[in-house]
Symmetry: C2
Subunit: 388 residues, 2 copies
């Protein structure tokens, strides 16, 4: 474990079929004013909105609502939330939804307590917030891991920039994780979430150091479970065992457990963010569309790592194959798994074509340092064209 | 993941070769009075005592000391610490050492803020403390995991009872983990620590449910790494890679990551605690002395679990073998590994014999519910005689 690290994760998790029973005791820890943040109509269709409202009222909370948070949450929605929060002055922001809703809630939580512009300050200049409104979460989707970390990703529509902020103040105080709430997630969103989980783990795993490191063993363990559980959940959306493993795997995949002792990559995420900023594609499907080609570029620079991935995650048969061949077969297996699930493995499937602003997307990527490889904008350009 | 759980672990970890640089900023978060807790002479021999004292003085701390904490920390040492702390009123208790020192510091931290008897109240009646003095840790040994949990195990000499308390208030605020500090740990202690790590993981792993559960995958990942790293560290005590993996594996092995979604067993620990209460044997060696025989008793009731252990952890070759045979070979492999390290695999090696109060030890075990099996005192008795 070559790299020194600090680790702290204070989020309180309530996990399981009865997790929502913890909402009231959690609410009692906070003052009376709750800003409820949610997305489109799904929480209303499933009844979760009604249930939450009932519990909030039973706890005698004053409620304000920020609704209609879109997937790929936008700066304009955050501005709307900040303006609401500045007037309402909530004691708690309760995010009910998936990663988009939580990320929007986080940006509002930090943005409402400053006179500065939230986007400029926290997302572009990467200044750390000095304060934030406490956040609670009722999670409805397995994917982003935002329920147990301090990160938020927001899309600024006008400047076509999708980027992140991170702060210790933005860890949810509590997150309620009932896997049953994911039964009704539309299939495409579910698949997108699974691609996101896998990508988070790979962004850490596909980076130095390559000496024996517990993080790599844990990453392989989570990957293996996620792959098995995804297959089960796609077959039977109400498979509780599969859904619970996916939900907890998503959380552990980006809660700091794996990251500390690794250099980390995050190029796939960065490039996808810019694809998303231009096309508003589902995040996870943007990731699956470019991942295999990205790793094919990196593979010659870290063959041992990809060999390990092929054998430990995909059980590629070694017989009669060179290390190079095995390493490449691991990437093929990843791509085949994305395809098997019904995820996109090309940008064309996301609706892009030769007329799309591919060079512009490539040039809008700001950071060029990967885990094993530093990139030029030309290389990112080539990657995107190859992934069309 | 059949069982619902709640999870929170607020401890801040600073890990790596330069982790001690975080001591001063951590100290600055607390008031001026620090109670320094440590064991015998080893922290003085290694220079860690001097270094810590220098950093405390540079932070202008008023220091009081509780020294001479024995392995298997005793109630009498805790009473000494409580009496000291009641007079000195520390703002922080800084534990410099391994699990024994930390566990003693925790008992003092809770006991100093109550007028009730700490042993009766927290350890026997299992009442939760209402308050505790904040704890910081500089860890010198990989084993107990006490650096990132709220547990403490204390031995009451007169009543020959060794048992635990647990409280959310007893999680160290910060723990400094520099693997280099474990280079000088005496070999027997190091081996004992490794047996303890393995046993913690097995206490959770060897229990229902047996459906697909991420906890089991993570347990196997940590076990595999610990086994590899132990072999390396025994060969070369200054192998940083091995030492860092052992240290982080020990921490993750008992910090709540694995426990939540499993029923858990803890019979091996409970029985060992009573062996320790009577014989003062090194904790980890008491565990290794009875583990294999304990699991041989359980195996017929959970053959699938032990088959999985044999294949996923020990890579037992399946060819021509029944499930029962494979399952048993996994337990044999565990015992062989203990022996390979030089750990005890019988109570005789701990100095016990036919004249030892074996029946008395068995009858002093209070809890009889295991992971797969409920025990009678007669069965525990037989286990101990078989392990002689």
């Amino acid at each position: 474990m070559e790299y020194d690290f600090s680790f702290q994760n204070p989020t309180r998790i309530h996990f399981g079929k009865h997790a929502l029973e913890y909402l009231e005791p959690e609410l009692n820890r906070f003052g009376p004013r709750v800003l409820l943040v949610y997305g489109g109509g799904s929480v209303k269709q499933t009844g979760l909105y009604e249930t939450t409202l009932k519990l909030l009222k039973r706890s005698r909370k004053k409620i304000s609502e920020l609704s209609g948070v879109p997937s790929n949450p936008t700066a304009s929605k955050v501005y709307e939330g900040i303006s609401l929060a500045k007037k309402f002055e909530p004691d708690l922001i309760l995010a009910v939804g998936g990663g988009s809703v939580i990320d929007c809630a986080k940006a509002v939580a930090a943005g409402a307590l400053t006179h500065q512009d939230f986007w400029e300050t926290f997302f572009l200049r990467k200044e750390k917030p000095m304060d934030a409104i406490p956040i609670g979460v009722i999670l409805t989707m397995a994917g982003t891991g935002s329920e147990m970390n301090g990160g938020s990703v927001i899309t600024h529509e006008e400047s076509k920039r999708k980027t992140s902020m991170e702060s210790g103040l933005l860890y949810p105080i509590f997150s309620i994780l009932n896997p049953e709430l994911t039964y009704t997630v539309p299939k495409e969103q579910m698949i997108s979430g699974i691609c996101d989980i896998i990508s988070h783990i790979l962004e850490v795993y596909m980076s130095p150091s390559d000496e024996d490191n517990l993080s790599d063993d844990l990453a392989e363990a989570i990957l293996g479970n996620v792959i098995r559980s995804a297959r089960r959940a796609l077959k039977d959306p109400k498979d509780y065992t599969a859904r619970s493993n996916l939900m907890w795997g998503a959380t552990l995949g980006l809660n700091g457990l794996l990251e500390g002792s690794k250099r980390q990559d995050w190029m796939v995420h960065q490039i996808e963010h810019q694809i998303g900023a231009y096309t508003n594609c589902p995040h996870g499907l943007g990731l699956s569309a470019i991942s295999a080609n990205y790793y094919r570029l990196v593979c010659p620079h870290a063959e041992g790592r990809f060999f390990r991935f092929a054998t430990n995650v995909w059980n590629i048969d070694l017989k009669g194959k060179t290390q190079t061949e095995v390493a490449r077969l691991g990437i093929d297996a990843l791509e085949a798994f994305f395809r098997e699930m019904g995820a996109c493995t090309s940008l064309r499937e996301l609706g892009m074509d030769e007329t799309s602003p591919i060079d512009e997307i490539a040039n809008s990527c700001k950071r060029l340092r990967g885990g094993y490889l530093n990139f030029t904008h030309e290389q990112i350009c080539k990657l995107l064209w190859d992934s069309l």
